[in-house]
């Protein structure tokens, strides 16, 4: 009889562990797989933003230089598509700036498409005055905010 006790004990403990493991196994199966991480957007060197005059979507000379650099970068990095965001300064009305922002993004896109970049690799979006880069209420801030921003996907 004395020898039975340790034997029973040695049987009971593994059986409990086994049962417990079964219960746990059920829960593990139910748990959903972790969601895939959101795509990371990186602004790589070489891809730069271009800037505009007030109420204008026409390209300035400095913008054209930058757009040539951007076109070369996009051609060299064929695995990346690019989003061109149109932005405006806070002046004027937000509805008007939404329209103007799209024109800025489009003028930048059209230029680099003319340089040979495939249109399918470019997407445009206008944020109007909704996402300013600089918070000030002066020409320095406004000049920063009138831009087409290039974001590599």
């Amino acid at each position: 009889m004395k020898t039975m006790k340790p034997l029973l004990r040695s049987l009971v403990i593994p059986s409990m562990l086994f049962l417990g493991a079964c219960c746990c196994a059920n829960e593990v199966v139910v748990a959903p797989p972790p969601p895939p991480p959101p795509p990371v957007k990186v602004v790589l060197p070489g891809l730069g933003d271009v800037f505009y005059d007030f109420d204008r979507s026409e390209l300035r000379a400095d913008a054209i230089t930058q757009l040539k650099t951007n076109a070369n970068w996009i051609q060299a990095n064929s695995s990346n598509n690019v989003i061109i965001e149109g932005h405006c300064d806070e002046r004027g009305t937000s509805e008007y700036n939404l329209a103007l922002g799209e024109r800025r993004a489009n003028s930048a896109r059209d230029y680099i498409v003319n340089l040979g970049v495939a249109p399918v690799r470019l997407k445009t979006v206008s944020y109007g005055e909704e996402k300013p880069f600089a918070d000030g209420h002066n020409e320095e801030a406004w000049a920063q905010n009138r831009r087409a921003r290039f974001v590599a996907e």
Binding site: T93, S94, L98, A99, E130
Partner: protein, 438 residues
């Protein structure tokens, strides 16, 4: 005989009209003549709104609440000069029943007297209202309003609405709503409040950017712009059925404006160039209505839907233009001011409100007739005043101003007077739009 018809027939029509629309409670109405008298006069209606009579604790408390609601409501309209009731307005000198002392009313300059009694029956309150012409001591209107304790505002405003319609012949602001954008949560979301800034409710929770809300004339649909999809997209939400239609699969969507209950217009660019389109409430496109190479935005329609005012940069900086939708003819409306945007066509007439961004940096609200005459400046020397939108009766304009720092909603009358803050609260309030429905 002719005399007979001249006096009796219009009165009969009015009585039949009121009996048809208010069949249960109305007992005496002779409103037609009074409206005629008011139209000739100008200025506010001198009104004595008497304290409501009530027996019992609950009745008295309810009466006090209704008193406040009606007083605030009528004051809000800006149509009335509210005169305190003279002490001897009630006359019971014969010791039997209380009569209205019309002599006392006319001596304080009252044109109209409104008074009433609150009674209670099986947990329902009855508000019995009577309206008299002060000079002729004639009963103009008598009606009973019934409701629960929590319906103070709707009961009080129902009387206010009837009174305004009785005295002006026009529908009133009571029951109308204002939708607007606020960033108080850190994101621009759409909210709704009553015409007087009360009963605030949050309508979107997209945690993105929501903009330019506008209710269809019947109040069944809300059109607005939202960035949840990653770009500005026009959504049309059926408020009762909680269905949402998204419009256009690509490009930008800007600033919707309703043409009718079934059609909204907005700037879209899905086909490669920006233009104003008419869109059905299910989100399908009816047709394109502007075809310039410039920016065309912010459509707003004449009450019959035949004409559209909008903003265009076709001549350089943005100006307001008017398009005849039948002929397609477009005429420039504004020639004064270098940057004119945000037109709003009055729902009752041919006036258009808009904003001018002035050289001084101020943004001011102007009103102009649809034919280009009668330009009037409504705001000045108080910062940036934006997004004017008419009340459903065309008597008031809601707009935003940063005159006290943050951008908040204000209302003023259609001449630019009686400017006041509409709604306190955190954050900035922008892009208000006043509904037509009630």
């Amino acid at each position: 005989m002719i005399q007979f018809f001249r006096h009796v027939v219009p009165g009969t029509v009015v009585v039949l009209f009121f009996l048809f629309f208010f069949p249960l409670h109305l007992t005496a109405v002779e409103a037609g003549e009074y409206i005629a008298i008011r139209k000739e006069g100008s200025g506010n209606i001198a009104l004595v709104l008497d304290r409501l009579g009530a027996d019992g604790k609950k009745e008295s408390r309810f009466a006090q609440g209704i008193d406040t609601v009606m007083h605030d409501g009528l004051d809000f309209t800006g149509l009335f000069s509210l005169i305190s009731p003279p002490l001897n307005v009630k006359d019971n000198s014969d010791g039997k029943h209380v009569a209205i002392n019309f002599g006392a009313l006319t001596s304080v300059g009252a044109e109209v007297y409104a008074g009433g009694v609150v009674t209670m029956k099986s947990n329902l309150f009855n508000l019995n209202m009577e309206v008299y012409e002060a000079s002729g001591s004639k009963l103009l209107f008598k009606k009973t309003y019934t409701g629960k304790e929590g319906e103070l505002r709707s009961i009080g405003h129902a009387f206010c609405a009837d009174l305004v319609e009785l005295l002006t012949g026009k529908r009133s602001v009571f029951g109308s709503k204002i939708v607007f954008v606020s960033n108080k949560t850190g994101c621009k979301e759409i909210y709704e409040c009553d015409f007087d800034g009360q009963e605030l409710e949050q309508l979107t929770n997209s945690r993105s950017i929501s903009m330019n809300p506008t209710l269809s004339p019947d109040g069944r649909h809300l059109a607005y712009i939202d960035f949840t999809s990653g770009r500005s997209t026009l959504y049309i939400r059926n408020l009762a059925e909680r269905k949402i239609a998204a419009v256009a699969k690509s490009g930008v969507s800007i600033d919707p404006g309703w043409r009718s209950n079934s059609e909204v217009a907005a700037t879209l660019s899905f086909d490669g160039s920006q233009g104003i389109y008419l869109i059905k409430t299910d989100g399908s496109i009816s047709r394109r209505i502007t075809n310039s190479k410039s920016i065309d935005i912010s459509p707003t329609f004449s009450p019959d839907g035949s004409k559209m005012a909008f903003v265009s940069s076709r001549n350089g900086l943005p100006q307001i233009f008017v398009e005849d939708l039948q002929s397609g003819e477009v005429k420039r409306l504004t020639f004064s001011g270098r940057y004119n945007t945000q037109p709003s066509w009055s729902p009752i007439g041919d006036k258009i409100a808009y904003t001018t961004w002035e050289k001084s940096g101020e943004i001011n609200i102007f009103v102009i007739n649809a034919d280009g005459t009668g330009l009037v400046q409504l705001t000045q020397k108080c910062g940036e005043n934006k997004s004017p939108c008419w009340s459903p009766d065309g008597e008031m304009i809601v707009f935003t101003s940063n005159r006290q720092g943050k951008e908040k909603m204000y209302v003023m009358n259609s001449k630019g007077g009686k400017e006041r803050l509409l709604l306190q609260g955190d954050g900035e309030q922008t892009q208000p739009s006043w509904s037509l429905f009630r």
